[in-house]
Amino acid sequence: MGADSPKMSKAEDTIGMSHQEHCNCRDQSFKDQVVVVTGSARGLGFEIARRFGRDQARVVLTDNLEETGELAADTLRQQGISAEFKYLDVRDPAQSASLVGQLVDEYGQIDVWVNNAGVVYKGPAETLPLEQWDDSIAVMLSGAFYCCQAVGRRMLSQGHGVIINVASSDGIQYIEGQVAYSIPKAGLIMLTQALGIEWAQRGVRVAGIAPGGVAIEMLQKGMDEGAAELESYLRRAPMHRLGDFSEIAEAVHWLASRDASYVIAETLRVDGGWCAYQLF
């Protein structure tokens, strides 16, 4: 409902203040909110941060790529977005805990936290180096949990907050060679359910997205393995195209908004129909 919408009906009143507020200021629904996106020095994470920034959120980019991260924050500031970069290696729970403390000191609140940091290792299960397995779990599953716990405590005490976990279609359907990637992503989907349920009553909403067939991964793969790979991928994809980062970011943005107030413990596929299609 836009600010110019003719009315809100009686039933609307029963939803409560927060929803009403939202209805009156939809375009600025993230104005001045503090939005943190992990793994946002580049790629999808950066695009997600930018999407919230366009809505006048104060965005915090975090990554373990310091130089790229600083440049990314610069780029956003040049676009008129309030943005800063903070170093964070999500593998280390002490770092996420101390970052949450720092951000609370600095901004007074954290409204939205997006767990996006990831690493990609590919290889057959029987020969996958165990360090790669461990690192995948450390970044995409344990890392996400450490962040959830640190920011979740804060959000529970402030009585509101939204956490969005970026999972993957690979956490739903298996593609050969992806054991190190799929398993933590599947775990992340269950983590979204667990925390979504545990914290629902206390004002902290946890949801997720499962992107699939997005530009970065597949293009990289296409380049690594020759263009034929990309062609066969596009033939099999129902929409016959790759998804754009902006399309994934839009879904994160919607899920984080008050429009999605009853969407809890759910992971929304943003995959152009990839998982739905089960034929050739």
């Binding site: 409902m1 609307e12 939803i15 919607w254 009853y262 943003v270």
Partner: protein
């Protein structure tokens, strides 16, 4: 006004979730066509929306009758020449122990909830969306379509059918630039729900306690998910079933009493 001048069809929109969906599309600038089984109720709903400044019109529609679906679609096409969004919302629900459910009730629930969704989708896709090479379809399924709820065999089987139908049509018509998605509401405060409460067949507090969020959904919360999936904002989303259920479906409910923290409420 993200649906400005778009032609949007919402079936079963005389009341409940469907009405709220129609209302939200109106407030986003759409021309809304209400499909109504009972002409008078549809007219009333459309009139109410027009009084609020919306552009709405009701046309009689029995989704269980393919002839009626085609006639409805033809009438819309004659007047507006396109259909951008179809929301299959019309539904009917009856409670019966499965060993006793009359054949008539089983058939009615499958007919309206599942067959009706397909017949209407077929009519709109073949006559409007495929020729125009664009469209977005949102089916109202249910969390009932994702699991076992005693005494709801027909309804839940039909809704499960809608969820898979959504996947099939999404993959079949993606190349026509048609997206097909479903929304599965949790227990929502609607007329359907109120009727059950009045008949003593349901208690809102029991449903609220079973929900991790601790309350039933408001129609507005379902409608906002429908608008998101109908809009260009979800351009890479097709073939999904979006749960809008306050955490209901994945909750294991160990003691069968609902969420512990909800007990005081």
């Amino acid at each position: 006004m993200i649906f400005k001048d778009q032609v949007v069809v919402v079936t079963g929109a005389s009341r409940g979730i469907g009405y709220r969906i129609a209302e939200k599309f109106c407030s986003e600038g759409a021309q809304v066509l209400i499909g109504a089984l009972v002409a008078e109720r549809g007219q009333q709903a459309a009139e109410q929306l027009r009084q609020q400044g919306g552009r709405a019109k009701a046309i009689v529609l029995d989704v269980a009758n393919p002839e009626s679906c085609r006639a409805f679609t033809d009438q819309v096409m004659d007047e507006y020449s396109r259909i951008d969004v179809l929301v299959n919302n019309a539904g009917v629900f009856e409670l019966y122990p499965s060993e006793e459910i009359p054949e008539q009730s089983w058939r009615l629930q499958i007919d309206v909830n599942l067959n009706g969704t397909f017949f209407m989708t077929q009519a709109v896709a073949s006559r409007a969306m495929i020729p125009q090479r664009s469209g977005s379809i949102v089916n109202i399924a249910s969390i009932g379509g994702m699991g076992g709820w005693p005494m709801r065999s027909a309804y839940n089987a039909a809704k499960a059918g809608v969820i898979v139908l959504t996947e099939v049509l999404a993959t079949e018509w993606a190349h026509y630039n048609i997206r097909v998605n479903a929304v599965s509401p949790g227990v929502t405060r609607t007329d359907m729900m109120n009727t059950l409460i009045q008949k003593g067949l349901a208690r809102e507090d029991k449903y609220a306690r079973r929900t991790p969020l601790g309350r039933v959904a408001e129609t507005d919360e379902i409608a906002s998910a429908v608008l998101f999936l109908a809009s260009q904002r979800s351009s890479f989303i097709t073939g999904v079933n979006l749960r809008v259920d306050g955490g209901w479906a994945p909750y294991g409910n160990l003691h069968g009493r609902g969420f512990p923290e909800n007990e005081q409420s």
